[in-house]
């Protein structure tokens, strides 16, 4: 599907810019041009598809669905699945959290949504397809959803309601089922302009991260010898996964900036499971998110929340290294 992009990148770098084929600068530039075009195309496709899904299932509808239906345990799955398709801005995590709790959705189910939402997002999916292929993408998405489910279920078993901030506990006691929503009765064609507008908005907001990420990746790609990292973080080193995850938790970056760099790590010998685990830790958990959550949770709950997810990510990292 992307042969023409590869040809174009080769033509541009070697024929137009006249950089010698096989030189380090040429390789790096070729890699940069090819990856940037490919990723931007994929990003547009994925954000449009997710935008369409989201236009029919906005987050308000998700909440009503979860709050009204008896789902016999499947609610964790649905919350996590919806979390994956809902575009996520970390500044919305607090209103979402409260909104869910207010609608009578159990804390564990709310957590399931909150865990998956940043972990699986349209930007990461597009970049994964472009850089690691469909199989790795599928494993990433499925494990992101499973992670949210497991995290949610574990957190619900711990009975953590008492560690919410007092004013949130107050809301919890007055929770009620949501009323009906005003439905948008629009045809697909009527929705399309808005979907595209959203898609372009998302691309615009991550554009420079992608350029810088791919740029750094291209530089590293051209200049770091293959097998460079293997000495330090090999598959046999049992501490590699936890180390990568713990390193990733306090870091904060969006998927657009991290994935190109991770791709280089993988090409230079780091196992893909370790790399995915690292990425999940970077995009899923961060210090800014913790400070946001402080408004609704006590530090103790935040610590428990972060620990459960960290451990789950480490576990899934080992799992990937075994399957992939």
């Amino acid at each position: 599907m992307f042969d023409w992009v590869e040809n174009f990148a080769g033509w541009l770098v070697y024929s137009v810019f006249r950089i010698a084929e096989g030189s380090k600068a040429g390789d790096a530039l070729n890699f940069f041009v090819y990856d940037t075009i490919k990723i931007l195309i994929l990003l547009f496709i994925i954000t449009s598809v997710m935008g369409a899904v989201n236009s029919y299932f906005p987050v308000d509808k998700v909440r009503n669905f979860l709050s009204r239906n008896k789902l016999f345990g499947l609610e964790y799955f649905f919350a996590s699945l919806f979390g994956a398709v809902t575009p996520f801005c970390s500044c919305s995590s607090v209103p979402l959290f409260i909104g869910f709790v207010k609608g009578g959705i159990p804390l564990g189910v709310t957590f399931a949504f909150l865990i998956t939402s940043p972990l699986v997002n349209e930007v990461a999916v597009a970049m994964f397809i472009g850089m690691f292929g469909l199989k790795a993408t599928l494993i990433y998405v499925v494990s992101g959803i499973l992670l949210g489910m497991t995290g949610g279920i574990i957190l619900s078993k711990l009975k953590l309601e008492k560690y919410l901030s007092p004013w949130v506990q107050n809301i919890l006691s007055q929770a009620e089922k949501e009323g009906d929503l005003k439905e948008d009765k629009k045809t697909f064609l009527q929705r399309l302009p808005e979907i595209f507008k959203e898609a372009f908005g998302i691309i615009k907001s991550v554009f420079w991260y992608i350029i810088i990420g791919i740029g750094l990746g291209a530089l590293m790609h051209g200049f770091i010898p293959t097998g460079f990292f293997e000495e330090y973080i090999s598959k046999d080193n049992p501490l590699a996964v936890p180390l990568a995850v713990i390193l990733g938790v306090p870091m904060y970056s969006n998927a657009a900036g991290v994935i190109p760099i991770i791709q280089v790590f993988v090409q230079k010998g780091i196992p893909i499971g370790t790399a995915i685990a690292f990425m999940m830790a970077v995009v899923g958990l961060s210090i800014p998110e913790a400070t946001l959550l402080k408004k609704v949770m006590t530090w103790k709950l935040i610590a428990i929340f972060f620990s459960v997810i960290t451990v789950s990510i480490i576990f899934s990292g080992y799992l990937f290294n075994i399957i992939l």
């Binding site: 909440r63 801005c89 500044c91 919305s92 209103p95 909104g99 207010k102």
Partner: protein
């Protein structure tokens, strides 16, 4: 006079919404009270799930995204 409320916990999207509102008011020569609501407890009284939210005269017009200047101008003139 119209009353405009911008709900958001102070993230960059909320700030751009605020700036766009100010710009739209300037361009359309409309006088309005612009109120920024950043306190989360206050925000949750409006029963919303995603921020930023743009409200005009107590009615939610835009939620979960940054409205463009032209869009705000249109919303203000109807």
């Amino acid at each position: 006079m119209k009353q405009i409320k911008i709900l958001g916990t102070g993230c960059s999207k909320c700030k751009s919404t605020y700036n766009n509102v100010i710009e739209a008011l300037k361009l359309s020569d409309i006088q309005a009270d612009v109120i920024k609501i950043e306190d989360i407890e206050e925000i949750m009284k409006y029963n919303i799930l995603t921020t930023p939210v743009l409200m005009i005269d107590e009615e939610i017009k835009v939620k979960g995204r940054v409205p463009e200047i032209n869009e705000i101008k249109q919303l203000l003139t109807v």
